[in-house]
């Protein structure tokens, strides 16, 4: 009996112990926090970073090291999250009230996160002066700016200079006929003209964006927002019809079985000169360079017009930036770091590291080479066409990718049918 009573008591203690453990831990945390605040000790800022590109990470590490050296009481702790689970991680953290101090922020999240009061208003920051007009539009709502970008990716043609030489292409094509002619020459030289890794759906979108930024958005076509709210119909828009016609014309110049090929294979093909071009964002350069550091690449705007002067680089305001959580207990320090991260000095370092095309004013671009030099020249010459947002909302984007994929998989034969399917899908989503 005594033994039984003892076992019952022990089990009860075990249960009570498991419950009280949480309370003890919590009490300890509170106590630690009080001590930390009281002594104004080291402040650790948590930064959820959604970009894992090697050059970006190398740049960020150096920026953090420089900042921490200048501000010994502030430590930046990076939490790396893969791009696939980034939204999931950030959304879950905010919904649970466990907010980071800084986080990578997408323009797509403006409508969800800003009204929820999660993002700090940065309108008072002196850094706003460092951006050209229109470049912060995607992070501005009701006159308030909520995030600061370092760079701008835009959709263009990335080409391998050696492959072009091998195929006897002396000049970068500046008309549509010239572009198709270049594709033909590459094919005749045994080089895949356009490498496309459509087994990854974002690549279908990237190739489409490269084409519709030039063919639709930079060509006085309707904004994507007006397609989403159904003010305009795909079937009634000449520019969208021309978009599908362009895809139809370039499809024969893509690698065999694009839907069975991943984009890393395409980067490798471009880097090794097995392919001549990739139609996608400027990040193609960094990825292809990682595959073959000795290769030289260049970029140009997809020349959709027969008039060379019309074929300027389409560019929309950046869509990714860094924001500070409104509920951060160290918001002041977080803003301080963000301002340093987006300063002209850090942006110069960003360009030197080859991480991308910085858009902060005052950047020294003298040390840039290859495609980055091309990009800097384009930016400096001002021969760009500022366009409205190039991305559909997620649900529309998925429908768009599926419909364009269907068009490719059906051999690019029915342009009118593709336009009709897009209208049907967008009508359904609008309901």
């Amino acid at each position: 009996m005594k033994r039984k009573a003892l076992t019952v008591m022990l089990a009860g203690l075990l249960a009570a112990g498991s419950m009280s453990y949480g309370t003890i831990v919590h009490a300890k945390e509170v106590k630690d926090e009080e001590v930390s605040n009281a002594e104004d000790e080291q402040i650790t800022l948590e930064f959820i970073n959604g970009s894992a590109e090697e050059q970006y990470v190398a740049w960020l590490d150096e920026v953090i090291a420089n900042f921490e050296e200048a501000n010994p009481n502030i430590k930046i702790e990076i939490q790396k999250t893969s791009i696939d689970s980034f939204n999931q991680t950030v959304m879950t953290r905010f919904a649970a009230g466990d907010v980071p101090d800084l986080f990578s922020f997408s323009a797509n999240d403006m409508d969800d996160m800003v009204p929820s009061g999660y993002v700090l208003d940065l309108s008072g920051s002196a850094n706003l002066e460092n951006y050209s007009e229109g470049m912060l539009d995607s992070f501005t709502k009701d006159g308030k700016t909520y995030a600061l970008p370092i760079a701008n990716d835009f959709m263009c043609v990335t080409y391998n200079k050696a492959a072009f030489e091998t195929a006897g292409i002396g000049e970068v094509p500046d008309t549509w006929t010239g572009f198709l002619d270049a594709c033909k020459k590459l094919q005749e030289a045994g080089i895949v003209p356009i490498a496309s890794g459509f087994s990854e759906q974002w690549v279908v979108n990237g190739t489409s964006q490269t084409t519709y930024c030039a063919q639709v958005l930079a060509n006085d076509g309707p904004t994507l927002a007006s397609m989403v709210d159904r003010t305009n119909k795909f079937a009634d828009t000449e520019q969208w019809k021309a978009f599908f016609t362009k895809l139809q014309e370039i499809y024969p110049y893509m690698n065999q079985d694009p839907f069975g090929t991943d984009q890393n294979t395409c980067y490798s093909m471009l880097a090794n000169g097995d392919a001549g071009m990739i139609l996608n964002g400027t990040w193609t350069v960094t990825n292809a360079t990682a595959m073959n550091p000795d290769a030289e690449f260049g970029i140009f705007a997809l020349p959709v017009s027969e008039n060379a002067e019309d074929n300027v680089m389409p560019m929309c305001p950046p869509e990714s930036a860094v924001a500070v959580a409104a509920e951060s207990p160290h918001a002041e320090e977080a803003v301080k770091f963000l301002e340093y991260m987006m300063s002209p000095d850090s942006a110069s370092l960003y360009a030197e590291k080859g991480a991308g095309i910085p858009i902060v004013k005052g950047v020294d671009t003298a040390n840039l080479t290859g495609a980055f030099k091309d990009a800097a020249d384009i930016m400096n010459s001002g021969e760009v066409k500022v366009i409205s947002s190039k991305s559909f909302p997620s649900a529309n984007e998925d429908a768009f990718i599926n419909d364009v994929s269907e068009f490719f998989l059906d051999g690019c034969e029915d342009v009118d049918g593709a336009l009709e399917i897009l209208d049907t899908d967008f009508d359904n989503l609008a309901q």
């Binding site: 959304m91 009230g97 929820s116 999660y118 087994s199 090929t261 997620s394």
Partner: protein, 282 residues
């Protein structure tokens, strides 16, 4: 009174587990149910109750038709091929065979590999080997993408069913087989009239678990194709994920999850009842 006290003393030992179970399983499950009746976007701390709106919308949502079709074809395909193949291998591995241990290990090793890694390996094989042999890759075409994913799933998961069937076969007394042999039954007759009925408990486990897990398939498809090309391999689980995390419609995603869960429970119960009714006493 004495008996009651004795039983209560047993119950006390369950308290730590019950607390954990309640906290980790029951509470999230119940709080998840109520979200199906809201317009929660997955991130806001506020949401509105919308009654049965999400369920009404689900009835007219054209986006769910293709994923349901894909899920059913995939689930039935995987379950049928997996179990037939696993049974075939188990029967052969239960015979006296040279290198038996090697084969058993070979079938079992892929189980230790995650679905994501298995998908990456097979994606590579598909785009480099199958595309050379067949002219086009399996997973790059709408018509064959499910075959490609089923191959990955079989390679990755076959081992567990092989083991269960082998355990079942080992448990069948040799007496039944010998008695049937004396009665003049040939090998085929002994397999269908002795082995299969005696293996019914294994079928109950293998078929039910394979079907319910393949109907919930997420990781393999997401890593192998992301639901493409052109949405042709999108399963219901991926659709739920898209609504939850990409389209910010968590309430609606929860409603789909709830309906899907009920469907899975019904399928599981029906299958279990069907196979249990055919089990024979040894």
């Amino acid at each position: 009174m004495k008996r009651f006290r004795k039983e209560m003393s047993y119950f006390v030992f369950l308290i730590p587990s019950l607390i954990l179970f309640g906290f980790c399983i029951v509470y999230p499950f119940l709080s998840g149910i109520q979200l199906a009746f809201t317009d929660w976007n997955g991130i806001s701390r506020e949401y509105n109750f919308v009654g049965l709106d999400n369920f009404v919308k689900l009835l007219s949502d054209r986006n769910v038709v293709q994923p349901i079709r894909t899920t059913v074809i995939y689930g039935v395909g995987v379950t049928a091929i997996n179990n037939i193949l696993a049974l075939f291998l188990a029967v052969n591995l239960s015979k006296k065979l040279k290198g038996k241990a090697f084969f058993k290990t070979t079938y079992f090793i892929p189980l230790a590999i995650s679905a994501v890694l298995a998908s990456f390996v097979w994606k590579y094989i598909d785009s480099n080997l199958f595309s050379e042999i067949l002219g086009r890759s399996l997973m790059g075409r709408r018509e064959t993408v499910l075959i490609g994913i089923i191959i990955i799933s079989l390679w990755n998961n076959l081992g567990s069913n092989v083991m269960i069937y082998m355990a079942g076969i080992t448990g069948i007394s040799k007496d039944y087989d010998e008695a049937a042999m004396i009665d003049g039954a040939n090998g085929r007759q002994r397999f269908f009239h002795v082995t299969i009925p005696m293996l019914m408990p294994s079928f109950t486990i293998c078929v039910t678990l394979t079907l319910t897990s393949s109907l919930r398939e997420f990781g393999t498809v997401l890593a192998a194709t992301g639901g493409g090309p052109a949405g042709s391999s999108q399963t219901v689980a991926i659709l739920i994920y898209d609504y939850m995390f990409k389209y910010s419609r968590a309430g609606y995603a929860q409603a789909i999850s709830l309906v899907f869960m009920v469907f899975l429970v019904v399928i599981g119960l029906v299958l279990t009842k069907f196979f249990r009714s055919r089990e024979v006493e040894a």
